[in-house]
């Protein structure tokens, strides 16, 4: 089915507009971008390393994990995709994918052909600039993750991760009052942060006991945002948001 996603709900525009200001024409062109809509259940690969896709996946709802696998079969999640993200935007210019992307929850996906995206970018150079800015910020997030995984202790590392997710989700309207749905398992958290599941569990228990976080199922509640930021050494500068603190 080819269709335009209800434009007022299109998280792509909300996402990009958190780091870029569009004109009315540009916003309209993005809204009119043809998409093939699909609902994909959890734990399905949307793409695999080595694929040569001819379309991009816009995540309309749900969570994805971008990952790579070591020779011994161990998975490293390198990024979490949320609504508004195009986790394979780089496939537009890189012929072959060097990573895989898997759904972590049921996801609503809008498939956009490379042809339509190229056409849009040729007609609207500022949209090209916006996507470039998006890609550069993604690079900044990777750099921050390297610092986080390589140099922060587990307690601070997980706190930083929660801060980042809360702000990113806030930017697309999926977090408010320092609370959000974060349906990521402790095993996935371990795969993303380079920790064993046992260690993740101990740290989460400690964070709950310290009053740093509350969890109810997949719901994450942060009772003291300033303290969590302090513990996680979280400075949102690298996210380059036009409105700096979306979670407040």
């Amino acid at each position: 089915m080819h269709a335009s996603f209800p434009s007022q709900d299109n998280p792509l525009i909300q996402k990009v507009e958190s780091v870029f200001t569009f004109t009315g024409d540009e916003r309209q062109a993005l809204k009119a971008l043809p998409m093939q809509l699909a609902v994909i259940k959890e734990n399905e690969d949307l793409m695999r390393e080595g694929d040569r896709p001819s379309r991009c996946c816009l995540l309309l709802s749900g969570f994805t994990g971008t990952y790579k696998v070591s020779g011994g079969g161990k998975r490293q999640i390198v990024n979490f995709g949320i609504a508004g993200d195009i986790p394979d935007l780089h496939s537009l210019h890189l012929g072959v994918l060097d990573n895989s992307v898997r759904t972590l929850t049921t996801c609503q996906i809008g498939f956009i052909t490379h042809e339509d995206l190229r056409d849009l970018c040729e007609r609207y150079p500022r949209i090209t600039a916006a996507f470039w800015r998006e890609t550069l910020i993604e690079g900044a997030i990777f750099r921050e993750w390297m610092l986080n995984i390589g140099r922060r202790e587990a307690y601070s590392r997980i706190a930083h991760f929660f801060c980042e997710m809360l702000v990113r989700l806030g930017a697309v309207g999926l977090a408010e009052d320092h609370a959000c749905d974060l349906p990521i398992t402790q095993a996935e958290l371990g795969e993303a942060l380079g920790l064993t599941t046992v260690h993740v569990n101990r740290v989460l228990q400690q964070m709950r006991a310290d009053g740093l976080i509350e969890t109810k199922g997949a719901r994450l509640i942060v009772p003291d945002w300033d303290r969590l930021k302090e513990v996680g050494e979280f400075k949102p500068l690298y996210l380059q948001l036009e409105q700096e603190d979306f979670a407040v």
Binding site: K74, Q186, A187, T196, T197, H199, V200, N201, R202, Q206
Partner: protein, 81 residues
């Protein structure tokens, strides 16, 4: 390979009851910790809290019991030698 086990209290802040694992030359190979029932991911299992030498690394599995842990340690030492 046979191992000697020696109980130890470990200051993990969570699970205290542990076991030191020595090789035939009484060299410390690993510290296993018995996870409490409060652990939400592997209650009651044994966790490789620390491994030395060939057991050092990012792979820190959990085991159903001490026999399974010793089996894994044996395989790991044999595999790498």
């Amino acid at each position: 390979m046979s191992f000697t086990l020696q109980p130890v209290q470990v200051a993990t802040g969570f699970d205290k009851a542990g076991m030191m694992v020595f090789d035939e030359e009484q060299r410390l190979l690993a510290v296993l910790v018995h996870l409490s029932d409060k652990n939400e991911v592997a209650p009651g299992q044994w966790y490789l809290e620390a491994g030395f030498g060939r057991l050092d690394g990012i792979n820190r599995p959990t085991f159903a019991d001490l026999d399974a842990a010793q089996e894994w340690i044996s395989q790991r030492l044999a595999h790498r030698s």
